[in-house]
Symmetry: C2
Subunit: 492 residues, 2 copies
């Protein structure tokens, strides 16, 4: 299956695109910039959703659903937010089609069915949600309001790539309302921790936690917290953001509450989201020139068992010995596929599961039965070993844990190797134009310098690390004083 | 809470609307015809989703995701389907906003950002999906293709009602492809059974299973199977449909496969869906003049425990005795809310949980502690009894099962009482204009008669029962011969 498959070194971008399509994760659709998420890709997304949803609920959030459309007058109410998204908005202007009088069997937009007010297909839902919250919040008793929504959103991107940047994508968006500034900030920070924990523990993808600079902030936010991961080509991926919105939306939609003391106060807000973009991060963090590599905790199939046989009699013997192993693993909560299809040869199946990133593959043939062994292959290292058939059901769960940790450690080591500190602009440019990676450097704190560096090198400030230490130095670009280094990288 | 709440007899339609809003299920939004599904309502929908999803997967289906938008040229490819939905289509014509030069701080649609081809917001996804399937299906080995999608769809309805008919709604849509006609018909029938089982076992809502007449069929289908439920006002609700699509979409999108014998054949198709409309059916089937009544299997909170106390010391004593009961019930998979909020009095809480349809309410006060009892109230019958505090954790699970069955039996008895057979048109009209309900009558099988009856009485043929017996008779309207009775009703 990996035949004709581009290697990472040859062309990283092509490798990624081919991998996504050939591993049956997603493909382009007939709609410009929109993708079809195929069943195997969607099964991974479902695992992500289930885990994130559990984490949101464990931190007191509830799900709800708000309209797909935002009337233009609501959309423009929070000006910065509107301005930030205006250029990417799909707009519904009509609500009916009719037979085209000039072309038989064809339809056209009915010119008499023009909407009085255009509807924006939500690029994000702050406007429609805060307009709703106005009716839900009167008293301090109604706060905090901790709501999440799983939804599709549309941002009309000119250059799209499967999962990483698509016109329509799936995401979750949390929208919370609080009585105090402090509580809203704590909420934004708590969610950042949830995102980081999910990325590291489930995706096995190490992330930096930090704050965005003003020019990289979400449109309408006071602060944007983010998690940033490093891909194998030395480019950064923003993997999730959590925004402290201050009172911007409360002012725009006039959302006030009566405090315990009987005073009217504007409400404080956060919003936060991760999207199907995480799929891109997952793929790029672990996969190799043999295809997809999945961390066990997000793999739809964790173990594939392939019988080796020449005769039906042999298949029966293998099956008889193998099904109890499958059952024993399933009883431990492991998802197992026993692939006894007679339409494909074992070698084809080996390639298939390798390319699709199934963490562990077991193969059992007549010789194994004689010897009481089973061949266990792990996808991450591509190594094989023989394990006693009697102990394989306790061996595999430990192996899955080991793979999960190994993948994280490998990705973490890669990030450490590709994180450098520089003190001059020449060093900086060498690094950014060379191996890439995260580059820590002093920055004078101005948008002008940030913009100039971006223009000259295409590197952006990914974040100001939350745990960065104060250390006096000079901005690599302007030479002006700086109190801490920030993280630069080229980014997706 | 039920104060000022309209009764069913007073105004059924008003009762329904008030119930949906006051029980925190959903509300209208700023977007015409679109609703906001509130957290409590969404939690019920999530329970429905989880169960249906499990049933779809158990019958071999996988989830995937297809684009929100359908290019007009694809949309119109299957003519009957396109014609059926053309009048309800929201159309995206532009992809950018810009500052309005005439109004500061306002936005307008950028006239230079007009799409070359308009995009239809999916009212249903056959077109975009079959255009995709063309690339997925080459050989008989690729069949059957059994895919479901959870998504939002938009149908521009002029008269909308929360859950029952909204411009945007949430649903699942299954789209399957098969090698043979027989297999596709079996799929459509299997899904109808899944829907009926879900409705009866989980929603406790009895349904009739049948076929739609030609004029009530899904646009583009060869046969539409449906489940029909009877609401408390004597009107029918179409609760789910499963369509045998023949080869209509395969022809429209040129989807062929090579058979085992090496012949090229067009593929056979089905599609099927249920939506947030089920929420309307659930609400109307069981609820009463005191508010929502939920079947335990779909209740987000199955048991509410309310402590009765005057002093903090009493609260502590009650809590100490109650938390182990909560834990014991939760260990049995029951969702329990212990409501010790001091912002509301017990009486207020009783009303709250009653209105929100929580199946079982436990109340514990100091006197109960003395007597070793606990007050158990069931929502469906509004009855209370004292149960020993030592056995309540085994009593409650049985009680929940009993409520689930009682609700079904009650709804079933109501339907039986309100299903009549008539032999003349006068009887028919009396019944339809009187109590309503399902009315079985002979029909001559013509669309003309069906249309005439609809025009004169507003009753439609809900379905031709799958298990209806052949019995010769005469059409109540035309007097022409008929071989079986069909089910008429006024409907939502």
């Amino acid at each position: 299956m990996a035949k004709g498959f581009t290697s990472r070194e040859e062309d990283y971008s092509k490798w990624y695109n081919e991998l996504v399509v050939k591993a049956d994760l997603a493909e382009s659709s007939a709609v410009r910039g929109c993708m079809v998420i195929k069943p195997y890709g969607y099964a991974i997304w479902e695992k992500m959703q289930a885990e994130l949803d559990r984490m949101f609920k464990a931190t007191g959030h509830q799900n709800a659903y708000f309209p797909l459309f935002v009337p233009k007058s609501l959309f423009e109410a929070e000006e910065k937010n509107a301005e930030g998204f205006a250029k990417e908005c799909a707009v519904v202007t009509h609500y009916r089609l009719q037979n085209d009088p000039e072309k038989e069997g064809k339809l056209r937009v009915d010119p008499n069915a023009k909407l009085e007010e255009e509807l924006i297909v939500r690029p994000t839902s702050e406007a429609i949600i805060w307009n709703t919250y106005k009716g839900w919040i009167q008293s301090y008793r109604d706060l905090p309001l901790l709501i999440n929504q799983w939804a599709n959103v549309v941002r009309w991107e000119m250059r799209t790539r499967l999962f990483l940047r698509t016109a329509e994508f799936l995401w979750q968006e949390g929208h919370t309302a609080h009585a105090t500034e402090q509580e809203a900030i704590e909420e934004a920070e708590q969610i950042l921790e949830v995102y980081a924990e999910f990325a590291e523990k489930f995706m096995a993808m190490p992330v930096l936690k930090g704050l965005k600079t003003e020019s990289e902030r979400f449109a309408g936010a006071v602060e944007t917290y983010c998690i940033e991961a490093l891909m194998q080509d030395g480019k950064a991926l923003q993997a999730g953001t959590s925004h402290f919105l201050g009172q911007n939306f409360a002012h725009a939609f006039d959302v006030k509450y009566t405090s315990k003391e009987g005073k009217e106060e504007f409400v404080w807000a956060t919003s936060w989201g991760v999207s199907t973009r995480l799929m891109g991060g997952l793929i790029m963090t672990h996969s190799d020139d043999n295809g997809l590599v999945l961390p066990p905790r997000l793999a739809p199939i964790q173990v594939a068992i392939i019988p080796i046989y020449r005769s039906m009699e042999q298949l029966e013997m293998v099956t008889e010995k193998t099904l109890p192993i499958k059952a024993a693993l399933e009883a431990k909560g492991i998802s197992v596929k026993y692939d006894d299809r007679d339409t494909h040869k074992p070698g084809w199946k080996f390639n298939e599961y390798e390319f699709k990133g199934v963490p562990v593959r077991l193969a059992v043939g007549p010789r194994d039965l004689e010897n009481g062994t089973i061949e266990v292959a792990r996808r991450d290292t591509l190594t094989k070993e023989l394990v006693s058939i009697d102990t394989v059901d306790s061996y595999v769960p430990d192996l899955l844990d080991d793979i999960q940790i190994s993948l994280y450690n490998k990705a973490h080591a890669y990030r450490e190797e590709n994180t450098t500190e520089v003190s001059t602009y020449d060093e900086f440019k060498d690094r950014i134009e060379g191996e890439g990676g995260f580059v820590l450097a002093h920055w004078d704190g101005t948008a002008e310098t940030e913009e100039a560096i971006k223009k000259e090198t295409k590197a952006t400030i990914r974040c100001i690390l939350l745990d960065s230490k104060e250390a006096n130095g000079k901005c690599i670009y302007s030479g002006k004083p700086s109190t801490k280094k920030v993280v630069f990288a080229k980014a997706y």
